[in-house]
């Protein structure tokens, strides 16, 4: 049945980060948006760890506020959920995976594959940003869950590990929902669905394959996905004119175009 958001808004203090979003995620989804567009806040809101949110969020037909002690439903790589105890990563992973009814041996084999065995005896706060990201990804993937929410899963990783991670996600037998501002990986996930996010608003969905063929042009066009960056409007159209997403490395570049 998937994850369904209806008219969802979220804010930090008085700043609105997510603005009346309607969205349906079933796995094989990429939330694509520049830094600061609200992607991570969206994940926090879905998980239920965001404080100020409005609207309705259901996971498999159950309102998230009613979900309690339900292993096997959802896992995430968001670093803030791994703050329960300040113990070495090996112990932390073992605890979370046991509580989430996951597979610790799968975690260990992935750790070996990513060659990060050496850091298991350190605490999460002692690791580099890249190591943290890998290990949080691996803990999330070691859970036997229906939906894995991965926040910028390739961020701060070296190219070799990025490729390894991409291969794992492409072949994953389950519902992966990830967000990213990077466009280099879109080729690898051509059969996934993309949802564009700018300034807390969602646009789409569109098949990644179609997104790759589309061009970004200034102005609003009928029968196409249009979005606003700053005070300018842009549309995704077919044809040869305009900017192709694969020409830019990150969606952050769109702001430069927008300016």
């Amino acid at each position: 049945m998937g994850i369904r958001l209806q008219n969802v808004s979220a804010k930090y203090s008085k700043t609105r980060i997510i603005d009346r979003i309607n969205l349906e995620l079933n796995g094989g989804d990429i939330i694509l948006g520049p830094n600061g567009s609200g992607k991570t806040t969206l994940f926090r809101t879905i998980i239920g760890i965001n404080v100020f949110s409005e609207g309705s969020i259901e996971i498999d037909g159950v309102d998230t506020s009613r979900i309690k002690s339900t292993p096997g439903l959802l896992s995430t790589n968001l670093e803030e959920v791994y703050n329960l105890l300040r113990v070495p990563v090996r112990d932390l992973a073992k605890l979370y995976i046991e509580l989430g009814k996951g597979d610790f041996s799968r975690f260990l084999s992935m750790v070996e594959e990513f060659e990060v065995f050496g850091v298991l005896n350190k605490r999460l706060d002692e690791l580099s940003a890249g190591q943290k990201r890998i290990l949080c990804n691996l803990i999330a993937l070691a859970m036997d869950v229906k939906y894995v929410l991965l926040d910028e899963p390739f961020e701060n990783m070296d190219p070799a590990r990025r490729v390894k991670m991409a291969k794992i996600l492409m072949n994953w037998d389950g519902g992966i929902i990830m967000n990213t501002h990077a466009t280099w990986l879109l080729d690898e996930f051509s059969n996934w669905r993309a949802h564009l996010m700018f300034h807390g608003r969602m646009y789409g969905p569109i098949k990644v394959d179609d997104l790759l063929k589309a061009r970004i042009v200034e102005g609003r066009r009928e029968d196409s996905i249009s979005f606003t960056i700053g005070e300018k409007s842009f549309s995704l159209v077919s044809g040869d004119k305009g900017l192709c997403l694969t020409e830019i490395d990150s969606l952050d570049r769109l702001f430069e175009v927008g300016l």
Binding site: I49, I67, K68, P71, L84, L85, L99
Partner: protein, 274 residues
């Protein structure tokens, strides 16, 4: 109860260098000062009761300061784990009751180990210094008082952490985590040197201090300053201190339950301000 969670809690506590530094070594330093520096003018050959009173007052104050130092860690870990707990209680087998039970048990075990270590240290060095065997007079009651003191510090610390979450004042967390230490320090010194009247019973820190002093030394707590124990005609029955301590634990537990229900956490951005 989840044994792995308990094991991890204990691992976190026993491997915390700050807890050992401030809760044990710093307090041990003062215990040694009490033995070899502050007692220089104390003559030998005094009645054993005088040495027991002196040793008991050092032990009781040291243990309260040690527990108050350990409370800093409890406040901060309760506060910082709020996000993880909200995630785990939804998407894992962990429920909040089990988490708090494990958290309380591990705190009691950890604090008990510190009580035993400081108790053994105190009786060893003070016995050696004064040439009198100064082991606790009522070890069973002393253990019970230490365990309840640990429980009091736990409920106080978690109340402080939840209050900060309810008030959404993350910048206060560092100050708030030191509150037990800041409050206990002057209160205990006042009890040592001056007559603080009913505060000695009403204040939970003084109630803990009095119980520990009484069961270590076997001497009743005077109505005036502890330093004049033995000379005072009026004493306070330990039952008053027990009643005070148990009432505080009950009240703070109730406050905790209310605050847990009302707190909705704070945003991660606010958490990062700390």
């Amino acid at each position: 109860m989840n044994t792995l969670l308990l094991k991890m809690f204990l691992k976190q506590m026993f491997r915390n260098p700050y807890a050992w530094g401030w809760g044990f070594f710093f307090v041990s330093f003062w215990l040694i000062m009490g033995t070899y520096v502050f007692s220089l003018e104390m003559p030998t050959g005094l009645p054993a009761e005088t040495y027991f009173s002196y040793t008991g007052s050092w032990f009781s104050m040291s243990l309260v300061y040690s527990f108050s130092a350990l409370a800093v860690g409890i406040v901060e870990s309760t506060y910082h784990s709020s996000f993880s707990l909200r995630y785990l209680t939804r998407y894992s087998t962990l429920d909040s009751k089990r988490y708090y039970l494990v958290s309380i048990i591990s705190t009691m075990v950890f604090f008990s180990v510190f009580s035993i270590l400081l108790g053994v240290e105190t009786s060893s060095i003070y016995s050696f210094r004064f040439g009198v065997q100064l082991v606790p007079k009522k070890p069973f009651e002393l253990t019970l008082a230490s365990i309840l003191s640990a429980l009091f510090i736990y409920v106080l610390s978690s109340s402080v952490a939840y209050l900060i979450l309810v008030l959404k004042k993350p910048r206060l967390i560092t100050f708030a985590s030191f509150l037990p230490l800041v409050i206990s320090y002057p209160l205990l010194f006042l009890q040592l040197y001056v007559d603080i009247g009913y505060i000695v019973v009403l204040s939970p820190f003084n109630a803990v201090n009095s119980l520990l002093y009484h069961y270590y030394s076997g001497i009743s707590v005077p109505r005036g300053p502890i330093i004049k124990s033995g000379q005072a005609s009026a004493v306070i029955e330990p039952s008053y201190f027990w009643a005070s301590l148990i009432s505080w634990i009950f009240l703070l537990s109730m406050l905790n339950l209310i605050l847990i229900g009302r707190q909705k956490g704070i945003s991660i951005e606010e958490l990062r301000q700390v």
